[in-house]
């Protein structure tokens, strides 16, 4: 059972899937750090991204231009995010502060149900695949689908770009400032609601990007966002809310633990290993590996 080759292969496969999951976590953590709310419908934006990718590749651009379709899909999700923020989430700040969490939770939960059902109703429950002409690539001893390697590369690039954007651009400064103190930036003349809108757009666009990237690998169907969201939340907890390096590290850690657990313990419990890690981390370090320091009460 414990052949070296299998161990190395499992290691590679776990690492790669972990990075892809991290992309999802990034969107969640980003929206949280700006707007102080959890978007439970994150997976549905992933789903929309994957449908857009499918529609663009299958109906408009053709499989050769799959790489062009990816940013367009992400942009589409970004725009949709702006609309959602404007129509549903902006009113949150007219609510009394103690009611905001409830409002955000209920509205995004309802949005989750709505988008999922709409996808089933409009596109049908069948799964689609935008197809991929990329050849199988050898990553060490492990053969990998070209689309998955491409997704991995795209995801890494997106993570790094995003990190740089936050660290070094003016806009990143505004975003970081907002995440520190919403009232503070308002006095500094920054339009917080505008920041929110863009932040929400970017956050869901990251999910949409993940959806578009993974569409040929994990298929396109109404509930395909579920598992990536689940992983995204786990990573956020393991790595700590608000930390980009934390998300990356936690993503890889989660990918590895699940892959090794599935390969060498019991494959039926693959998803449990991640949850066990989450519960363990929370018991030991409630704010995650690299999370912001816990501010109690």
């Amino acid at each position: 059972m414990f052949s070296t080759e299998l161990v190395v292969q499992t290691f590679i496969s776990g690492t790669m899937i972990g990075v892809l999951y991290a992309l999802m976590a990034l969107g969640i953590t980003f929206i949280y750090s700006i707007m102080r709310m959890i978007n439970w419908a994150m997976g549905e934006f992933y789903m929309i991204g994957s449908y857009l990718q499918y529609a663009l590749v299958a109906l408009l651009l053709g499989p050769d231009l799959w790489w062009l379709a990816i940013p367009i899909s992400a942009a589409g999700v970004f725009l949709f995010g702006l609309v959602v923020q404007w129509s549903l989430l902006k009113p949150i700040f007219r609510k009394p502060p103690e009611a905001r969490d409830d409002y955000a939770t209920v509205v995004t939960l309802a949005l989750l149900l709505l988008l999922r059902s709409l996808a089933t109703g409009l596109a049908g429950p069948n799964q689609f695949s935008p197809g991929s002409d990329l050849p199988v690539v050898m990553v060490g001893p492990l053969p990998m689908a070209g689309a998955r390697v491409a997704a991995f590369v795209f995801a890494l690039v997106a993570l790094v770009l995003f990190y740089l954007l936050l660290r070094y651009s003016w806009y990143g400064l505004a975003l970081r400032a907002t995440s520190q103190s919403r009232v503070g930036v308002q006095t500094a003349g920054i339009d917080v609601l505008g920041v929110d809108r863009i932040a929400f757009g970017i956050g869901v666009a990251l999910a949409g990007l993940a959806g578009a990237l993974l569409a040929p690998v994990f298929l396109v169907y109404p509930t395909n966002g579920l598992i990536t969201t689940v992983k995204g939340f786990e990573i956020v907890v393991i790595g700590g809310l608000g930390s980009i390096p934390g998300a990356l590290i936690a993503g890889v850690l989660l990918g590895l633990i699940e892959s090794f657990g599935a390969a060498f313990i019991d494959s039926a419990y693959q998803n449990i290993y991640g949850f066990a890690l989450v519960l363990l981390i929370l018991a030991l370090k409630p704010t995650g590996l690299l999370g912001e320091r816990g501010r109690e009460a």
Partner: protein, 319 residues
């Protein structure tokens, strides 16, 4: 609690209202058919779940997303005891309650120091773990095939179950009301508002939080255990996230953190969802739209409509 404590007059009024309302519902079988009774019974089940979750989230500020899992723990404990060891329901159901309470203590202790958002994710992770376990350990739990449970009254005719759940709901609601009007109730709300201040006053917030977590889990377990003996087949779908979403939506539509909220929120939501069932894949879309529109335009919940009514009623009574 020491003897010096007396319930405020509002407690007596609530009990009277609960009992009178229940008495009205006791006549429902005269006009309702088998299906309507079934829907009402399930609604009572959700009233209990929503009210006990509200105790945790609405009053104490612990936004748990594992409440459906505790119902399932109660249900499966009794179901598994019966299925594998032939244990009768009158032992199985209390065992389910104890088991749910036990898990409640453990999870409550684990999430104790967490801020709201981590708590939500941690409890959700716990629920998913239970879900996966019930699916994966199919040799013991019968997995997705479903665990057959003996009907409580030998038959699945909804009438006796209707009265059982009506009685349960009355008991649970009176119990919750008593808890909320007791010192622990004050402590719960204090913790939600300002935990540091609560500690500085001498409130053992750790103990209160764990106590509330286990009490509300036990109630969920109680409801779940009875539910299992009514539906007669348990499946891991009981811990589908949409079930939790339903509980949250019920409470918020009714009025978060109010006593009346879950009571008047649960039944209409359950009925609307059952009614929409015939629209197939569109049912959840319609339901979600209704929720979004409601939330978008009024946040107070239905309970706020009733509060003035309630005051007027008793004001006249007092006068």
């Amino acid at each position: 609690m020491s003897a010096s404590f007396a319930f405020p007059p509002s407690f007596r009024r609530s009990v009277i209202t609960i009992v009178v309302t229940a008495a009205v519902f006791a006549f429902a079988p005269l006009v309702a058919g088998s299906f309507a009774l079934h829907v009402l019974t399930i609604s009572f089940y959700f009233v209990i779940l929503a009210a006990s979750w509200n105790l945790l989230a609405g009053y104490t500020g612990q936004f748990s997303l594992a409440h459906h899992a505790f119902a399932a723990i109660g249900a499966y404990t009794s179901g598994l005891l019966g299925y594998h060891y032939g244990v009768p329901a009158w032992i199985g159901i209390p065992s389910g309650v104890v088991m749910a309470a036990l898990f409640g203590v453990i999870l409550g202790r684990l999430v104790l120091r967490m801020r709201a958002i981590y708590l939500a994710i941690a409890t959700w992770a716990f629920a998913e773990t239970v879900h996966i376990y019930l699916t994966a350990d199919y040799q013991f739990t019968r997995g997705e095939l479903g665990l057959s449970v003996k009907p409580l009254y030998g038959s699945v005719d909804p009438l006796p179950y209707y009265f059982t759940f009506l009685a349960l709901t009355v008991l649970v609601l009176i119990g919750l009301r008593a808890l909320i009007d007791s010192p622990i109730g004050y402590f719960m709300r204090a913790i939600k508002d300002d935990e540091l201040r609560a500690k500085s006053l001498g409130i053992d917030t750790t103990r209160v939080k764990i106590a509330v977590f286990s009490i509300s889990s036990a109630i969920a377990g109680l409801a779940g255990a009875f539910y299992g003996h009514f539906i007669v087949l348990l499946s891991p779908q009981m811990i589908d996230f949409s079930e939790m979403a339903k509980i949250v939506i019920m409470v918020v539509i009714g009025g978060f953190g109010t006593f009346l909220g879950p009571v008047i929120g649960a039944a209409p939501v359950q009925m609307v969802m059952t009614y929409l069932q015939k629209y197939g894949e569109w049912n959840l879309a319609i339901f979600a739209l209704i929720v979004i529109v409601l939330m978008r335009f009024s946040m107070e919940g239905l309970a706020s409509l009733f509060t003035p009514l309630w005051r007027n009623l008793w004001a006249r009574h007092d006068a």
